[in-house]
Symmetry: C2
Subunit: 208 residues, 2 copies
Amino acid sequence: MAGKAVPNATRRSERSHRAILDAALELVAEVGYPKLTIEAIAARAGVGKQTIYRWWPSKAAVLLDAFVALGERAAQEAEGPGSEAPYAFPDTGDLEADLKFVLRATVDELLSPTYDLPYRALAAEGIVNPEIAAEFVSRVMEPSVQLYVERLRAAQQAGQVAADLDPRVAVELVTGPVTARWLLRTLPLTHAYADAVVEMALRGLSPR
Amino acid sequence: MAGKAVPNATRRSERSHRAILDAALELVAEVGYPKLTIEAIAARAGVGKQTIYRWWPSKAAVLLDAFVALGERAAQEAEGPGSEAPYAFPDTGDLEADLKFVLRATVDELLSPTYDLPYRALAAEGIVNPEIAAEFVSRVMEPSVQLYVERLRAAQQAGQVAADLDPRVAVELVTGPVTARWLLRTLPLTHAYADAVVEMALRGLSPR
């Protein structure tokens, strides 16, 4: 690791890496996931196919890294460099308001063109490809699920959520309906829907 | 339309139709959806490719019809011929027990090899293909959602569900978490999970 050659090579390598991830995101938006190819990503990024195969086994793996990098960049822009958590979960003391704030932001993210196409492509691939599903869940889904779990635990300590509930299942009661509506496109995904889900999840279906 | 030729041709045509649908289901289980081809379906069904293309525009369209036919056949076997509804939704007067019964049956169906692979393939295709999504929703999802809606309306009339709730959103609070866990494979899908979701949806997260 001596001399100038290594830092230059490292810089070149970083530049290629970033160009490949950018090309994957651009192309999935332009041609759709089924027509996305390693060849097209290589051509757009100005690298050889072998450079991509040296780092990634499949187009799904490239897209997953590209999507994670996109989220990290968005978080850094929002919170400044060096921030640890991908997203901060608000704790104003008002659980209903905090859950609505986050679930509305999730709806906005799912509907934004930047996220929608790669996110949808990865979810679709994950449905038929268990390895990609496992990576998608551990790198994309779980970090935000954990933020919900922590917020619900705080609410349990504050007496705002029943103490005997499993917070992991409680998170899914709030996020599951939005995820399912987004993935299956059953009905429009709106802020009003996010609010209705949060209110219903907190109060329950049974009359009080 | 005279003579014996027409009934024979119709019978032959019905036989080919059924053979194509069966072949699509067999092959998706054997090779997976990404590798499923119209050529392979034709070869397995003993028909020409053009016969398939005369009836269906794509492999997704064949698989959707095959999946709907599978559900109809299962319903006929379960309920006898001539039954109208694809599935009956129990109404014992105990909403919690009825929801758990149906949601456990849904979990069993989602995990059974007969349904899991074609269902998953269609859901994945629908995520990136809005036309297939619309057909999948209207022919596969909505009929069962409507049975839930009717059951929840009866519960509202019986005073077991708050009268001011939108039953459509209420259904999704119960089914959304199971759908999301199945599609994204976040955690295991079990009867215990189905029960926990029903209990939490009825009682809500807030302490009483």
